[in-house]
Symmetry: C2
Subunit: 133 residues, 2 copies
DNA sequence: CAACAAACTTAGAATAATTCTAAAAAAGGC
DNA sequence: GCCTTTTTTAGAATTATTCTAAGTTTGTTG
């Protein structure tokens, strides 16, 4: 899958060469890579950059809502190209992470017992187990 | 709140002095402490022990389902005395973590779009935001 | 009980993901 | 082109956690 430049814009974020490359590398890698996996991917590419920059770019993209961070236990943080609301499934037999969507017409907040007036800024849902083979 | 020894048993786990003390310290501390906070609490107590042992004991208790681990982003892992299924709310204005229960009669799995035959071994749900003052 | 093996604890060293530092480079407005 | 701000960078620093290897405790067996 090719990703074209004009799709690599993020409202309110200056898209430097490096940020574009990191964003593109993530968009072309659906399997929730770590920062250093992305760094390795980029090493062999035109636009190589330092690991610190990969971290900086990912942080900027996360802050602007373009991508998501995924943490499973204390494993290295992984990054997700899917900016829509969704959950994650960590397949313990392969180590892979898969996106999970919520069934339509359901608002997750409605099933939680929260005090009146709670302000929610983010919601994360992560499962572990094995997928059917 | 005092916690008596006979409540500090965990099926299938040999309860050494150290494991009992770590378990008790967590039971007496409702605010999801870190390993090193528990270590500090225990330093001033009868049964002091090494930080490695606190980690070892917590790991054993987690593996046996007596307590839960809570990870929020990359912050130090926190431990939860509540072994029942529940979620967590991270209050960003205070840094505290609160337990969240699901409304009764609702099965969280039912609202997720999972492939037929998926085996789930754990489910985590974590919110961030602010609670009403 | 004494001997033994297995499980546990320990202090300190090692690890590794991430962040920090401070200097160079790039961007963009005027 | 000049100036200010932002970004990138290499490498050092940080720090939560794990590892190591030696000592201790526990439970078992003869
Ligand atoms: Mn990869
Ligand atoms: Mn505490
Ligand atoms: Zn995802
Ligand atoms: Zn909890």
């Amino acid at each position: 899958m090719k990703v074209y430049d004009h799709q690599l814009e993020v409202p309110g974020l200056r898209m430097t060469k490096q940020r574009k490359e990191v964003y593109r590398a993530l968009m072309e890698n659906a399997d929730h890579p770590t920062a250093s996996q992305l760094f390795d991917n980029l090493k062999n590419s035109q636009e190589s950059m330092s690991l610190a920059t990969v971290y900086n770019c990912l942080e900027a993209l996360v802050e602007h809502g373009a991508i998501k961070q995924v943490n499973v236990d204390r494993e290295p943080t992984r990054y997700c190209q899917n900016s829509a609301q969704h959950g994650h499934f960590h397949d313990q037999s392969t180590g892979t992470i898969h996106d999970i969507n919520f069934k339509s017409g359901i608002n997750l907040i409605d099933i939680l017992d929260l005090p009146e007036g709670t302000e929610i800024s983010s919601l994360e849902i992560t499962l572990k187990g094995t997928l059917p083979s």
